[in-house]
């Protein structure tokens, strides 16, 4: 059991790290968006499964809060990514307009 939990925590930490690395090293705004959305899915997902398993095995009764956290994350993460991408598109559009006006 402990080995399983440790593996899950490790996987979660690894993918969260990769997400953060992606945020730093990818070349432009839109590619950077991919980093954090990925970290939330598998990274946080694995950590939450580990947490659920740990608290279910250590204490009495099932611990199912984590399912709810996963659900809320899966609902909210795409929306924030979508809003950021959309606003980036609009700002870029405005910049193009400005250039045209300046020229």
């Amino acid at each position: 059991m402990e080995i399983l939990i440790a593996t899950l925590v490790f996987i979660g930490a690894f993918f969260t790290l990769v997400g953060s690395i992606g945020l730093v090293k990818l070349p432009d705004f839109f590619t950077r968006l991919h980093g954090p959305t990925k970290a939330t899915t598998l990274g946080v997902g694995a950590l939450l499964i580990a947490s659920s398993l740990y608290f279910s095995s250590q204490h009495e009764g099932l611990s199912l809060h984590e399912i709810l956290i996963t659900l809320f994350l899966f609902i909210t993460a795409p929306i924030s990514a979508h809003i950021m991408a959309k606003s980036a598109l609009h700002i870029k559009k405005n910049e193009e307009k400005k250039e045209r006006l300046d020229a």
């Binding site: 690894f14 990769v18 839109f30 590619t31 991919h34 993460a77 795409p78 990514a81 991408a85």
Partner: protein
């Protein structure tokens, strides 16, 4: 009946969410959750203009299973792409022609696209006919479009039906 009980599935989901939040199955919380499940859909009815029926629950469950599998696989590919060199990436925008019509279906599809690593949905056209997607590495745009259509949009079209 429909007036007082507009969204039975939403009511059920709220009850389950309430029980999960409290991590109990005690009678008091069951009652309180049922009350909230009745009152919240009633008060937020104006936020749900369309009546969507969820048909074929098994197709939906299979869709979720496929999605979870794809998330794991795509996470590994994207992790390799992120750790690899930047010049190997081919970031590009893809215009995806939507076949699904109702709003709930479109929002679930857009969320699915954002959740699967490697693609983020950026913008929905005003007439709701195309979705702008940004892909981290897409050399063959047609392939990405066909993949999304085959794996995600088709089952969603079967599940969310206007009624």
């Amino acid at each position: 009946m429909k007036k007082f009980f507009p969204h039975p599935l939403l009511s059920l989901a709220l009850l389950v969410a309430w029980l999960l939040l409290n991590n109990t199955l005690s009678f008091g919380h069951l009652l309180l959750g049922a009350f909230l499940g009745l009152i919240i859909p009633y008060m937020s009815a104006s936020f749900w203009p369309e009546h969507i029926c969820i048909k074929k629950p098994f197709v939906f469950l299979r869709f979720i299973a496929i999605l979870l599998y794809d998330i794991v696989v795509a996470n590994i590919t994207v992790a390799l792409q992120v750790l690899g060199e930047n010049k190997n990436l081919h970031p590009s925008f893809i215009t995806y022609p939507l076949s699904i019509q109702n709003q709930l279906g479109i929002s679930v599809l857009a969320s699915t696209i954002s959740l699967t690593p490697g693609t983020v949905s950026c913008d929905l056209s005003v007439d709701q006919s195309t979705l702008l997607i940004h892909a981290l590495s897409a050399q063959d745009k047609e392939k990405v479009i066909a993949h999304i259509h085959q794996r995600y949009e088709k089952p969603l079209m079967e599940v969310f039906v206007q009624c």
